[in-house]
Symmetry: C2
């Protein structure tokens, strides 16, 4: 007897014939589950939620609260699967390689994809029935499925005739709106795929989706190869605008990487890329413009004018995307020069249109986009938070990878430092959530004062080599010491100050106070892994109940997927984009006042 195990949020499915250990099943399916102890039930890292769940073992009862046991939390290394099972993998249990790129809170979307497939058995052409191939298909679509088409993609028209004659007049027709965008021999109605692409400045996430059901078949991430031309958006814009040909270089580089990734994803999922009949792409406005080959020079200087701020629907082949020859790519609209369609997608994924009350949605990255939704209005702004949270401009900063310090605690009494690293490796640096944790703790125990100054005289505080300013030792010994310097603290102050002043100005604009905020949705790679409590403690976020924070993971990617499968959400996104008022912080009269207040730390 066969049974199926479904992993969310990856959307992976596996079929097994005999009872098998969940950890092994996960490994076989390529689901990157953490496991430090190697499946001995000791480290507790392979924590997942299963449904239905077995009776908890003694070890699980020790590791989990009763609530968690009741919810179905178990260790994958202690769980044998014998029947159809749903497995939810929380972000904390995903290995870092996958973690950065994949995870996002899935939302329920009723699929209404713009593309559908139909199978037809046609009457053979004869001297008494000389209808054209297109007319024959058109009339049968109307008769059998009541579907009306009136045009056909010019490249698809080329293959209709031979396909019909090669497959004995049995054919699958791919219809989008009133256009035939593909034909395939025989009955291929079951293979109808879409791909959603979240084109970030540093990484690109892909969601391969079964269009009729809306289920993810594969999720995959790669590094954006444009990183070779500059880490942040502005350096890419400058590069693209400096010499003729540079824009094309950036564009073709990313396009090639995307096409290779699609090829790889399809191979991995054993599907044909020709069955991908629809695609969506979201990204910040610079990524969006570069991908489309639009001039970006104007995005790099005031007033940061976009070329276009409405959705685009373009043949994938026109933009160079290698999916089904007649397929389209749908680009949701960017909002402003520094608020992209990725932010719009995150808002859609968060369902802010359906939620009541006052909501803040924040997508933290090199640029942090913030939207405030009240009963009447939606206002957005962009803050130049810089790359400090991604580990750049920080002495021992690094991306969230193996060996990066991600959690820090300092004992108030002994000032002993305790760090946790990704994959429990020896510490090699600090990633964004680690530096946030570290500074928050240093502040709590008094090593830093509210102006940001590191106080000498504390254990672990010392002068940096060949310099006057101070630093605090977090971990390591000798050459492998990891410290947080005065300069690092200043960088974080600028970054968190930018975010905080954005929030404050938005609230001020609509006359709301902190306590009026009902929910804060936090997305983005960094936003997913921070501890909201610590972020509030350093004043990055205002003092809002921790229970009101909702970390959604890669909301942009989930939104891109939602927009891929639902025409209703496309329309909703377009309407929302029109409604959103963009606030240019630089032109706001109180900006500097807010900013200079926001870079300070709250008094402990």
């Amino acid at each position: 007897m066969k049974f199926t195990i479904k992993f969310s949020p990856m959307g992976k499915r596996v079929t097994e014939k005999r009872p098998r250990l969940l950890l092994d099943i996960a490994r076989g399916a390529g689901v990157g589950l953490k496991s430090i102890c190697g499946g001995k039930g000791k480290c507790g890292k392979c924590r997942v939620m299963v449904n239905p769940a077995n009776e908890a073992t003694a070890i699980e009862k020790k590791l989990f609260t009763q609530d968690e046991i009741d919810e179905g939390y178990r260790l994958a290394c202690r769980t044998t699967i014998r029947e159809d099972t749903q497995v939810y993998v929380p972000p904390s249990s995903i290995t870092e390689e996958q973690k950065l790129q994949i995870w996002g809170k899935e939302i329920e979307v009723k699929p209404s994809p713009p593309v559908r497939k139909f199978f037809l058995r046609l009457a053979r052409a004869s001297l008494s029935d000389t209808r054209s191939d297109f007319q024959r298909i058109k009339q049968e679509l109307k008769r059998k499925y009541n579907v009306k088409v009136n045009s056909v993609d010019s490249k698809v028209l080329n293959i209709i005739g031979p396909t019909l004659r090669d497959c004995n007049w049995s054919i699958t027709v791919v219809v989008r709106g009133s256009e035939i965008i593909g034909v395939q021999p025989g009955n291929r109605t079951k293979q109808s795929l879409g791909i959603a692409i979240d084109l970030g400045t540093s990484r690109i996430a892909f969601y391969l989706v079964d269009l009729p059901t809306g289920e993810s078949i594969n999720i995959y991430g790669i590094t954006n190869p444009q990183i070779a031309y500059g880490e942040d958006v502005l350096s890419r814009i400058n590069y693209a605008g400096s010499t003729r040909g540079n824009l094309e270089k950036l564009k073709s580089g990313v396009l090639q990487a995307i096409n290779m990734a699609i090829e790889k994803i399809c191979k991995g999922s054993k599907v044909d890329r020709g069955d991908i009949v629809e695609s969506t792409l979201v990204g910040n406005t610079a990524m969006h413009h570069i991908f489309l080959g639009l001039p970006v020079k104007q995005l790099g200087m005031a007033p940061f004018t976009m070329a276009i701020n409405q959705h685009l629907e373009i043949k994938a082949r026109e933009v160079g995307l290698e999916i089904s020859p007649g397929g389209y790519t749908y680009f949701p609209p960017p909002i402003a020069g520094f608020v992209g369609s990725d932010h719009l997608a995150m808002l859609i994924a968060s369902g802010i249109e359906r939620k009541k009350g006052n909501l803040i949605a924040i997508d933290i990255g090199t640029n942090t986009e913030i939207a405030l939704k009240t009963k009447e209005r939606v206002i957005s702004c962009s803050c130049a938070s810089g790359p400090a949270f991604e580990g750049a401009h920080i002495k021992h900063g690094m991306r969230a990878a193996s060996g990066a310090i991600e959690r820090v605690s300092i004992s108030s009494k002994s000032l002993a430092v305790n760090v946790t690293t990704i994959d429990d490796k020896s510490p090699v640096g600090i990633c964004g959530s680690g530096i946030l944790d570290g500074i928050s703790e240093m502040l709590r125990v008094g090593i830093i004062d509210s102006s940001g100054k590191i106080n000498s005289g504390y254990k672990g505080v010392r002068k940096i080599k060949r310099g006057e300013s101070l630093e605090f030792v977090l971990a390591g010994k000798g050459k492998r010491e990891i410290t947080i310097t005065q300069q690092d603290v200043s960088e974080i102050q600028l970054a968190k100050g930018a975010i905080r002043s954005g929030i404050e100005i938005l609230l001020e604009k609509v006359g709301l106070k902190t306590q009026d905020v009902n929910q804060v949705i936090v997305g983005g790679a960094f936003g997913t892994y921070i501890d909201p409590l610590k972020a509030v403690r350093i004043g990055m976020f205002p003092e809002i109940d921790i229970g009101k924070f909702n970390q959604v993971g890669n909301g942009a990617g989930i939104g891109a997927k939602a927009i891929l499968i639902s025409q209703k959400l496309r329309e909703q996104a377009n309407q929302l984009a029109k409604r959103i008022e963009y606030l240019e912080l630089a032109t706001h009269s109180n900006f500097l006042e807010h900013f200079s207040r926001a870079i300070r730390f709250p008094k402990m």
Copy 2:
């Protein structure tokens, strides 16, 4: 004081400052006027109709009837132009080089082109007005011209930003439907051009048109380079279908030739090809399919199924046509495997939809398309008339070029033969109208009997060299003798028989008799130059009053131009195409009976 001379149907315009001889003006303008005597007022070949006309000279009064004088007929070599003048050049006065390709009875069409240009002076982007470039243009189009757009061509979007900033925010926007298909710096609203292409099996005609006024700016013709792969449609189809790559070869060859011709036309007219913002293309179904890269193998065998039989509207760049980057090419629908969109265009140019009574429209070529319109129905068919009328398969046959015999008369009494050649050169062969004339005269004087047999014993009739069958000497001496052979007569019998049986079957199908026909419209290169009287005499056409024949010249080209400038005519053409019933002659039960009767000549 300047004055303008306008030549129709060429559509050429010239401006002069001083009084000048019309023949010289025409030569300077590249209008190929015949002139055998070199402008001495003797040959009468440079006959044109001018308006306003000077007092007729003595020589003109001798050459023209009083009616002609009143209509404004004059000799170009005797006419000095001193003011704005319209000059109509009848086909008989055009030199052969231009004649074949250009002439067509122009029709009056109220222009309603699908593309319009608008000039905008835009507000500069600023921090207090950060609208996207597209939105800025969209809103100003609405405000100033009440024109609503909602999309923009993806390639055009690339140049909007730099264009706006380079030209001080003054811009010309090209709009098609609700799409922006182009932008140009400054005010270029006066340059709005279209090009209509009549893609024939042997030649390609181009009509460069000023879209707002609908006036022709340049008309031009080239040979179809596919001729290297076979003279007739069927050999092209066979070639295209035989090996992979052949279709592409045919397609790219003709595309390259068309693009080069467009370049040449634009240079000649001193216009920028980027100002050509719309194009149309008509042709027989095989030419249409090959140009689009559609499979044609299926067109070469029963049931001759088309890939598509509705109009197509495709970005010109998608089909490889080098006009304005965002421009479209409009392809009116083909009717059947052997009745193409060129025939439809000819029907539109003939205005058959507006005409009352029973009409026959014939487009004579290697394939002859015939349509019969009655009060209720329009039926069309295609006859394989073969290339005899184009001079092929005829012993001394040639295309209509210098030195070709185009008129023949034989004295009933002396049997003396009198021939007229193109350009009055020494005869070097016979073109289609010449062979028709010759056979008709041979029949009239009894050299041929009604079975088609050449009777021996007549002056000029002799045995062909090294053979038994007979031939009749038309002109020339020794090696330069031009004859009509028994074999030639048979070829013409097959050709005219095919046409006649097509006409008879159509009439039979709707229950009409010859005398019920109110008008016969004859088009096509050959159809333009034949003498209908002679065509009736050999039985190619039924016995219909000569006054009912209307020779329209290249109706397909004129129709393509009409469809280019008028959206109303596009719709009319589409409606007509749907109405036309196609009759497959091969499946008609009486076909052979009709054909065997039709190949005979009428009794004299």
